[in-house]
């Protein structure tokens, strides 16, 4: 007749004892609820109280859905929390399509997808999601930097270092040291030689002293840098993102530019980089080392560089008349109802190449499901068709303006299936050496603060980013 359930806690509580009469049959359910009060000292359920953690836990998950690493910055959260993520993963079909922010009854899951791995963070409180995503990318970057790649095998091979790194990077949800220069002084990256030495001598891979850069006003640079050859090289890379429609008209076009630096200079060099045409740059983001005021007033980049490789600045050029489109594409892809076949004919030619050669030209087409096979002839390069992924890849190589490459032939289609409604888009890859397509040019690079004469160099390259031609 009577049934009840309850749980009791030896805590200072507010409690609610309620008997609950369901119906006239006098069957009773007694429910006892125990709620936490104002005091924060008790062992109430961990999710109840405001938690100080920003990122509570991190799970690394491979493409098969196995969790192969977990790190908790506070109490241990059960792996079962990932089930919500797996559910979303299932629903998304492709791993790229998993929504980056998921809500569960007690937590939020914020994830990124990098190198076929999911970095899944569990958070409990209002926290800027961009903060978390940026941090996760920084973790992935650090792994890449330390181990040369960011993959499951390399991470499991270096579990202890990974764990030490994670602990060093985040303290109670506050990022602690995320600059690779600083981290490398605290935790040395693995290499075969040191491993051997460490094993023989009992040496350690943890720095014994506080990194100098950690607290100066230039946290990105370590002190006491010495090189026999002092050199500073800069790569200006521009990627063209464009959408070109059927008729060859540019729908949208923009340039994502980046200046990557490899600086190996002794001491505390202070560099200034100036451009021939700085007016091009109105949408920029800088490495923290760049003095923003100098840029605002004089349009020069003035900075004390970090040691080694780093991204000096990225920029974005969206005004369409500044974006040259280096190639044109003539294409026709048709599917015929009768005979269940299709025809494909693609020709590529140079458009605005500023007199340079287009290299590494490649066309990728994601074909509709119904296309079973492709029987084509290429006047230049090779093509492959993967009938499981439906990807047609035509690797052309160098573009010869005298003899334009052409790919044509027939497509065999599944019979009895209606014609595909969608038109496949063409994705173009290409590379142009010695050219920044926006016309950006570095005019000089000066060094102050040190007496030696460094080797300097600037290299330009233009690539296709997300360059799509619609059919």
């Amino acid at each position: 007749m009577n049934q009840s359930q309850g749980f009791f806690k030896d805590i200072q509580i507010s409690c609610l004892v309620v008997g609950w009469l369901l119906s006239n049959t006098a069957s009773i359910i007694l429910s006892f609820r125990v709620w936490g009060g104002q005091s924060m000292t008790d062992s109430a359920p961990s999710w109840f109280f405001y938690s100080a953690e920003m990122i509570h836990s991190l799970f690394l998950i491979n493409h098969l859905g196995d969790i192969f690493l977990e790190k908790h910055w506070k109490s241990v959260i059960s792996r079962s929390v990932c089930d919500y993520f797996f559910e979303a993963r299932e629903k998304a079909v492709d791993p790229e399509n998993v929504p980056p922010v998921l809500q569960t009854p007690h937590h939020y899951l914020i994830s990124i997808y990098r190198g076929k791995l999911f970095f899944l963070s569990v958070i409990q409180t209002e926290v800027p999601p961009l903060f978390v995503i940026e941090f996760l990318h920084r973790v992935a970057d650090t792994f890449q930097d330390y181990f040369g790649e960011c993959s499951e095998s390399v991470i499991t091979d270096n579990l202890v270092i990974v764990y030490e790194l994670l602990e060093e990077m985040l303290d109670n949800g506050f990022p602690l040291a995320t600059e690779s220069n600083v981290l490398k002084e605290m935790i040395r990256p693995p290499n075969i030689l040191r491993s051997v030495v460490n094993t023989l001598t009992g040496g350690s891979n943890v720095g014994e002293t506080l990194p100098q850069g950690q607290l100066s006003n230039i946290p990105w640079r370590r002190a006491g840098v010495k090189y026999a050859n002092n050199e500073a090289y800069f790569d200006v890379t521009e990627e063209i993102d464009a959408i070109v429609d059927k008729s060859g008209t540019t729908v949208s076009a923009e340039i994502q530019g980046v200046i990557e630096a490899c600086v190996k200079l002794s001491g505390m060099p202070d560099l200034t980089m100036s451009f021939m045409n700085p007016r091009l740059l109105d949408d920029v983001s800088f490495h923290p080392c760049v003095r923003f005021r100098r840029w605002e007033s004089e349009r020069v980049l003035s900075f004390i560089p970090p040691d080694g490789n780093f991204t000096l600045m990225t920029y974005h050029i969206s005004s369409q008349n500044l974006v040259a489109i280096p190639v044109y594409v003539k294409q026709s892809i048709n599917f015929f109802e009768a005979g269940s076949c299709g025809r494909l004919d693609i020709t590529i030619g140079p458009k605005q190449t500023m007199g340079k050669t287009v290299e590494d030209l490649k066309v990728t087409i994601h074909m509709p499901k119904a296309v079973l096979n492709a029987n084509l002839t290429a006047t230049q390069g090779n093509y492959t068709y993967d009938c499981t992924t439906k990807m047609l890849v035509w690797d052309i190589g160098k573009l010869n303006p005298q003899k334009l490459p052409n790919l044509r032939g027939s497509l065999s289609m599944q019979t009895g299936v209606p014609n595909p409604e969608e038109n496949p888009s063409l994705n173009i890859d290409l590379k142009i050496q010695q050219l920044a397509i926006s016309g950006l040019k570095v005019s000089r690079l000066d060094m102050y603060g040190e007496k030696y004469k460094p080797f300097k160099g600037v290299k330009y390259v233009t690539k296709a980013g997300k360059f799509q031609v619609r059919t």
Partner: protein, 924 residues
Amino acid sequence: MQEWANQLCENRQFGSKMTDSKYFTTTKKGEIFELKAELNSDKKEKKKEAVKKVIASMTVGKDVSALFPDVVNCMQTDNLELKKLVYLYLMNYAKSQPDMAIMAVNTFVKDCEDPNPLIRALAVRTMGCIRVDKITEYLCEPLRKCLKDEDPYVRKTAAVCVAKLHDINAQLVEDQGFLDTLKDLISDSNPMVVANAVAALSEIAESHPNSNLMDLNPQTINKLLTALNECTEWGQIFILDCLANYTPRDDRESQSICERVTPRLSHANSAVVLSAVKVLMKFMEMLPKDLDYYGTLLKKLAPPLVTLLSAEPELQYVALRNINLIVQRRPEILKHEMKVFFVKYNDPIYVKLEKLDIMIRLASQANIAQVLAELKEYATEVDVDFVRKAVRAIGRCAIKVEQSAERCVSTLLDLIQTKVNYVVQEAIVVIKDIFRKYPNKYESVIATLCENLDSLDEPEARAAMIWIVGEYAERIDNADELLESFLEGFHDESTQVQLQLLTAIVKLFLKKPTETQELVQQVLSLATQDSDNPDLRDRGYIYWRLLSTDPVAAKEVVLAEKPLISEETDLIEPTLLEELICHIGTLASVYHKPPSAFVEGSRGVQHKRLPGSTESPDTTSAAAVSDAPPAVIPSQGDLLGDLLNLDLTPPTTTGPPPPASSENNLILPAIGAGFGAPPAAMPASFSAPVSGGLDDLFDLGGGVGMPMGAYSAPKTVWLPAMKAKGLEISGTFARRSGVIQMEMTLTNKAMSVMTDFAIQFNRNSFGLAPAGPLQVLTPLNPNQSIEVTLPLNTVGPVMKMEPLNNLQVAVKNNIDVFYFSCQYPISMLFVEDGKMERQVFLATWKDIPNDNEAQFQIKDCHLNAASNKLQGSNIFTIAKRTVDGQDMLYQSMKLTNGIWVLAEMRVQAGNPVYTVSTAACAYS
């Protein structure tokens, strides 16, 4: 797990010998034992390797807590790496082994004095992460020293540690004066220390919203702005988020802050950029619009937002959700940037959908041609969800930009020609909306639509098509045939279609009464007699009666002119938008919900509002702070749609009209009708913990001069004005002379007079219901409050609620209907005749099975005072006796629904802790 590890190990062993995977080679048998032996080895190197193995096991989720004492033994070492590894282990397992953890305290304290700052910082940091009370006690002294350490690295670590400690024991932090030290650190010479102090303080402030910790004044703001330039990117985020909470005194201060924040827009870290955008968006409100600087600022905001879209897709997603808010607030910022939102076919689907949303928001006469061309392109893509949304977007463009409507319609017709099933269906749904927006303009396409009648298999599309046929019945020659064909499978249709079909046929009848009498009778009988759906039956009966009593009135009702729909339907409501703008970059901005709505545990959320421009400084009314926010049922729009499902909305409605798709030509009695079904979808997180009930009841501490009579909690805000178009309701419950009363204060914070108040309860656990109407006889003027006491009875319908004492309430006034829920103290339900005979008590106590019993401990109360106070709340003391030096008090109480609760209170002499055992039984 072990198998998995072994396997992993086999796979890896071939390749690299010098890697950590070697730590997995031990077999399951005796693994812990072997590790134990190694940990206790004399050789340092062996020890370190063993600890590494332990850590490796921990990372993959294995339980190695059994090794706790052995690992702790390795802690005293000169080897920094070993020390770090042991600390790592301690942080993970100290909580589960508190008694063992105390062994580590000495080493911690010693390490906090180490000459190496790295070790000092490491020790204080680790101690803060060990959430064990005994350790915490020892933390205070080292922490105090570290906060004043000469080395900034130690100070900055210590600053974070204060936040950690506060999370474990807030009182301790306050008592020890750490908060003041932390505030002093804002003036530290090192920017990193400042940033961490700010972060720690904001975090503490967030958990104690009323503590007024972050006392922001021009001086501190200046310090923060200086530190902003010099600290790390993460510190910049904390400082910017903190700045966003400040309200500048005037437009000049606002401008100078903006000027100093704008350089952050060029930061490589997107979180810094978005936080800077938040500060600027907020402070911009205070700038006069004719100021030159205002225009400059607007221009400066566009490029960084565009740049965010070239980042990784996850970042893009968050950025897009925020841009969605920004373009609603200030469309001018991005009006020329339409192209960056064009969709690339390899964008992840979540990015595609967001871009599409923003494209529509930015669509204007100037760019509509381009947008339409894009949308048409998208409608031929592969992904079904995306295609559907693209087709819908075309419809939304037509409604938004009148000049484009014709082009949109022809684009939709083109798409219908493709005969792709889901495209056709979506197109028909949006064409219905276009008809509603531009009546009598595009009806020429109806013929084309009718051709596709057979291919429609989704309820929404079928319903839309039926609506079109009914609405334009007079122009479609064979309308009766078409509708009749739907009628054949009436019972297999979804409710949506059934309702629509019913309405459409009635419309047809009113337009062509002669030919369709039979048809209308058929549908009315199908709806009223053969259907078990109450909505359908009700609507059928109403039509039936209308038609039979007064066909003219029926015509007026059914064929009345419908309100036009507008694009505003999908805009976020302005007050919510203002609040969300203040939360740019947070989870709230991603979910487009106010933070109070979904963040668990953030008690007492402060509703933020944009500062007014200097011309109208009404910022004082902004601070609607409440300690325990009552549960307010969200998204009125949806609920209105669900509950009332009104098409012909009351004319005075100021809020968004119900979604266009809930197109039902039916008037229901305004409020009562909705209560047939309980409000659906009450998010679980809404039941904010309210400490009421026995907590207050048993608050027996100060036993002197207690008033006799029932305890009644102070009033709390149940319905904040923000959620209810200016009506604020606060209230409490009381039991006075045997009557349960709901005491409410209604405050009108809106600009107009409120009248016609009414109240209803949803079904609830104890059948609480109003015993009379809400007595608000005079109209409520703006800024006026009125006290209302509503007597309640317990004879209403019963439904179990979660939590049990939850009560969902609807209040209506001349403006709208508002919903909220509150929790009543259970003591209200204790009836006056709850005193049980001693003998009966004894017998009953024995009869109640043990598992019906619950025990609690209460500290610091006085027995005699307690019994008096309890009696005031209808908890009756039956007997008192002393056994083995323990005082026992026996009590009984009875609930309104006849359940008896019996309690035994036990107090040990000299021990102020009371144990209460309660048991319950029922007499049917």
